[in-house]
C-alpha cells in the first residue's frame, strides 16, 4: 500500500537539466541501506552540497533556494535514466515530492515511481518550457482523475497519459503485489500448462 494520490496543488521546484540520471538523484554510495526510509536527505547529494559537506549547500541549486518549495519536481527531459535503483524514487518521495514532471521519462524510473505512489507526469516540450518560465510563486495543479496538469495562475493546461490500471492503483493506494497475490491460482495453472 502506498499513500493514495488524486489532486496535487502545489508550488514546484524546477531543475532545468536534461538527462538527469539516477546516479545524480541518489549517488551509489548511499545505497547501502536495508530499509526504504531516510533517502531524502541525500537526494541530488552531489549537486546540493560542496565537497559532500551538508554545511555547504550550493547556492545555485534549486533545492537550496528558499523561494522554491512544493510537492512537485519539474525536470528536463529523459529524467531518471541509468540505473534501476528504486532508491531514486524513495529519495524523491522521502524528500516530500508526490509528482515529477518532465517531457520524457526513462522506463525503469517511471515504474519505480508509480510503485511508490509518486506520479510521473509526461508533458510536451512546449508545456515544460512554459512551466520553467513561471516564477517561484506559481502553482501547478495535477489532477490524476482528469489526467490534467495546469498552471494555476494562467490556466494553461495539458492532459497526460497513464494506463488505467496504474491510475486506479494510485488513486486508491493499491500495489501490484496485492493484485498478483490475488491471481496466484491462475499463475499456478499457467505453470502447470508449461510443463
Amino acid at each position: 500500500m502506498s499513500k493514495p494520490l488524486s489532486i496535487v496543488k502545489s508550488r514546484f521546484i524546477p531543475i532545468n537539466i536534461e538527462n538527469i540520471d539516477t546516479d545524480q538523484i541518489i549517488p551509489a554510495r548511499f545505497l547501502k541501506a536495508t530499509t526504504k526510509e531516510g533517502f531524502g536527505k541525500n537526494l541530488f547529494r552531489d549537486w546540493r552540497y560542496e565537497n559532500d559537506d551538508e554545511t555547504k549547500p550550493k547556492a545555485d541549486f534549486p533545492l537550496n533556494q528558499a523561494q522554491y518549495s512544493g510537492e512537485i519536481l519539474v525536470a528536463g527531459k529523459n529524467f531518471g535514466c541509468g540505473s534501476s535503483r528504486e532508491h531514486a524514487a524513495w529519495s524523491i518521495l522521502d524528500y516530500g515530492f508526490r509528482v515529477v514532471v518532465s517531457s520524457f521519462f526513462a522506463d525503469i524510473f517511471k515504474n519505480n515511481a508509480l510503485n511508490n505512489g509518486v506520479l510521473p507526469v509526461q508533458v510536451s516540450d512546449g508545456f515544460l518550457q512554459k512551466i520553467f518560465a513561471r516564477d517561484a510563486e506559481s502553482e501547478l495543479t495535477v489532477d490524476l482523475a482528469q489526467q490534467t496538469i495546469s498552471i494555476s495562475s494562467t490556466g494553461e493546461n495539458e492532459s497526460f497519459d497513464i494506463n488505467s490500471y496504474k491510475k486506479t492503483c494510485l488513486l486508491n493506494g493499491y500495489d501490484d503485489i496485492d493484485f498478483l497475490l490475488s491471481i496466484k491460482p491462475e499463475i499456478e495453472t499457467f505453470e502447470t500448462g508449461r510443463e
Binding site: I17, E18, N19, D21, D23, Q24, P27, A28, R29, L31, K32, A33, T34, T35, K36, D46, D52, G76, K77, N78, C81, G82, S83, S84, R85, E86, A89, F104, A106, D107, I108, N111, N112, N115, N116, N163, S164, Y165, K166, D175, D176, I177, F179, L180, L181, I183, K184, E186, I187, F190, E191, R194
Partner: protein, 493 residues
C-alpha cells in the same frame, strides 16, 4: 549509417502502421518469447508476465525480503532465484570481513535472507561468486527463450542469448519473489542492424558506443531492441553480451540477439545447461527463436561496420562518444539531444569543445564491470600488453567478472602478464564501475574505463570517466593518454 532516415522520418510522425509493407505479418524474436510468458492481460492495462529466472544481489534485495516478511509470505519459487554478492564487495582481501560497516550489513542480510527463504547464494568465497551478469551466462543459467529479471539495469546483458532480460526496481523484485510474475506493458520493437566487417582494433564495445553516439542515450527508450546483421552474427557470445549490456544506455527496455550455433556451442556443457534428451528438446525449441523475415518493427536502424572506429566518450552520458581520432563536438556539430547539456558536461570533464580527445592525459585505467570483465576481455588485454609496461603516471586495475574468470586467467598465465606490466589484478565484483566499495576514482582524475556509465560522480564524487573498449583502455595504460590502439598495433608488427 545508410538508409535508416526514411524509417526515422515515418516513425517520428506515426506509429508502425505507416510502414504497411513491414506489417504483412510474421513475428519478431521478442514477440515469440513474450507471448509464451503471458499469464493474462489486464484490460487497458499491463500484462502479467511470467519470469523464468530471477537473479538477486545484496543492494536491491534487502527491502524486498523485508516486504515479504511484513506480508508474512515466503518466496514463491526459490529454485528459480540465484543470488550473489557483487555490488559493494571489496576487490582486495575478500577472505577478510568487509571493513565498511553498511556494505557488510547488506552482504550479511543477503546471507540471512537467502538461508531463510531457501535461495541458492554464491556469496563471497564461493567458486561461482561474481558479477551477477557474468555468472548467469557462465553457469549456463541464462538460456534462450527465457524471461530473466534482476534488480539491476544491466540485466539486459542476458538478452545476448535470445532471452527477454531486463532490470527492475526493488518493488518488482518483491513481486517476482512473491508470485514469479511482473506487471509489464509490451514495449515497442526496434531492430538495429550492423552489417559488414569490423576494422582492425575495433571490437564489440566500439560497436555499441558507436550506436549510442548515433541514436543517443534516450534513443531506444520504450523499445525492446533486437541487434542483427552480419557484424553482430560474427561476434562471440561474450562480445554479444557487451552489446546487449549497454542497450539500457540507449534507454532500451531490453536488448536481444537471436540465438545461433555460437549461442548453442557456448551453453552446451555448462553447469546448469540442459543435458541429454532435455538438451535435444530445448535445442529444437531454441532454433525457432528468430524474427521472421517479414516481421515488423516499429523502428529500424542500419549501420555499416566499416564506418566504426575505436570509440571513446568525452561527456557525461554514454551517448556522448566519438572516434578516438575525432575532435570533441561543438554546440554547432553535436547531436541535438545533447546540445543543452554539452557545456555542463565539458565543464565537469575539464574538456573543451572542438579539442582532440587523443592525447588526453589519463590517471586511472579500469578494466572490469558487467560490460567487459569476461575471460575474452582479459585475454584481449593480455595479448596486447604482453611484454609491455604501463606508463608510470597511471594506476591500472583489472577486476575480473567472476571467480571462474579469475581462475581461468590465472590458469592461462594472464595474471603474470598483468603483473609484469604493472597492472593490478583484483578480485571479482562491480568495483570502480559504480564505486560502492573502496575502488573509487578521486575527484578531478581521469579514468579510462571499460564500464558502461560516464555519469557525473559515477566512479566517485568528481571522477571523470571516459568509456572505451578493453583494447583502447589497455592502449591508454601503456601510453598514459588516450591513444589509437591501431597506432600501437602497427608498432607491434
Amino acid at each position: 549509417m545508410n538508409d535508416f532516415t526514411d524509417n526515422m522520418e515515418s516513425n517520428n510522425h506515426t506509429n508502425s502502421s505507416s510502414t504497411p509493407s513491414l506489417r504483412a505479418g510474421g513475428t519478431t524474436l521478442f514477440e515469440k518469447i513474450w507471448e509464451k510468458h503471458i499469464v493474462k492481460t489486464i484490460e487497458d492495462g499491463p500484462s502479467v508476465l511470467y519470469i523464468d529466472k530471477h537473479l538477486i544481489h545484496e543492494v536491491t534485495s534487502p527491502q524486498a525480503f523485508t516486504g515479504l516478511n511484513k506480508r508474512g509470505i515466503n518466496v514463491f519459487r526459490p529454485k528459480q532465484i540465484v543470488a550473489t554478492a557483487d555490488h559493494n564487495v571489496p576487490t582486495l582481501n575478500q577472505h577478510l570481513p568487509i571493513k565498511e560497516e553498511l556494505g557488510r550489513k547488506q552482504v550479511e542480510a543477503l546471507i540471512k535472507n537467502c538461508a531463510e527463504h531457501g535461495v541458492e547464494l554464491y556469496g563471497l568465497g564461493h567458486p561461482f561468486q561474481g558479477i551477477v551478469h557474468v555468472i548467469g551466462p557462465e553457469l549456463g543459467i541464462t538460456q534462450p527463450g527465457m524471461t530473466i529479471v534482476c534488480g539491476d539495469s544491466h540485466t539486459s546483458t542476458h538478452g545476448a542469448f535470445g532471452s527477454i532480460a531486463f532490470g527492475i526496481g526493488t518493488s518488482e523484485v518483491e513481486m517476482v519473489m512473491a508470485t514469479q510474475c511482473l506487471l509489464q506493458s509490451k514495449p515497442k520493437l526496434m531492430r538495429i542492424t550492423v552489417d559488414g566487417t569490423l576494422n582492425e582494433g575495433v571490437v564489440s564495445k566500439d560497436i555499441v558506443l558507436y550506436i549510442l553516439s548515433k541514436i543517443s542515450a534516450s534513443g531506444a527508450t520504450g523499445y525492446a531492441v533486437e541487434f542483427a546483421g552480419t557484424a553482430i552474427r560474427s561476434l562471440s557470445m561474450e562480445a554479444r553480451m557487451t552489446i546487449c549490456n549497454m542497450s539500457i544506455e540507449m534507454g532500451g527496455r531490453c536488448g536481444l540477439i537471436a540465438p545461433d550455433e555460437t549461442t548453442f556451442n557456448y551453453i552446451k556443457g555448462r553447469k546448469f545447461a540442459p543435458k541429454g534428451t532435455d538438451w535435444d528438446q530445448r535445442l529444437a525449441s531454441w532454433k525457432e527463436l528468430y524474427s521472421d523475415t517479414n516481421a515488423a518493427f516499429d523502428k529500424e536502424y542500419h549501420f555499416n561496420a566499416e564506418d566504426i572506429q575505436p570509440m571513446i566518450t568525452y561527456g557525461t552520458n554514454p551517448g556522448m562518444g566519438i572516434g578516438v581520432n575525432e575532435n570533441i563536438p561543438t554546440t554547432e556539430t553535436i547531436h541535438e539531444t545533447d546540445r543543452s547539456g554539452l557545456a555542463k558536461s565539458l565543464a565537469y570533464m575539464g574538456l573543451r569543445q572542438g579539442m582532440p580527445i587523443k592525447g588526453q592525459k589519463i590517471d586511472y585505467v579500469f578494466i572490469g564491470s558487467c560490460t567487459n570483465s569476461r575471460i575474452e576481455d582479459l585475454r584481449m588485454v593480455a595479448s596486447f600488453v604482453k611484454g609491455k609496461k604501463k606508463d608510470d603516471s597511471v594506476e591500472v586495475w583489472v577486476v575480473p567478472g567472476s571467480k571462474q574468470v579469475e581462475a581461468q586467467a590465472i590458469k592461462e598465465g594472464i595474471d603474470k602478464v598483468f603483473e609484469e606490466a604493472g597492472f593490478q589484478l583484483r578480485q571479482p565484483g562491480c568495483s570502480a564501475c559504480l564505486g560502492m566499495n573502496e575502488d573509487k576514482i578521486p575527484a578531478g582524475k581521469y579514468c579510462i574505463s571499460t564500464s558502461n556509465r560516464n555519469f557525473e560522480g559515477r566512479q566517485g564524487a568528481g571522477a571523470r570517466t571516459l568509456l572505451a573498449s578493453p583494447l583502447t583502455a589497455a592502449a591508454a595504460a601503456i601510453t598514459g593518454k588516450v591513444s589509437d590502439i591501431r597506432d600501437l598495433l602497427q608498432l607491434n608488427n
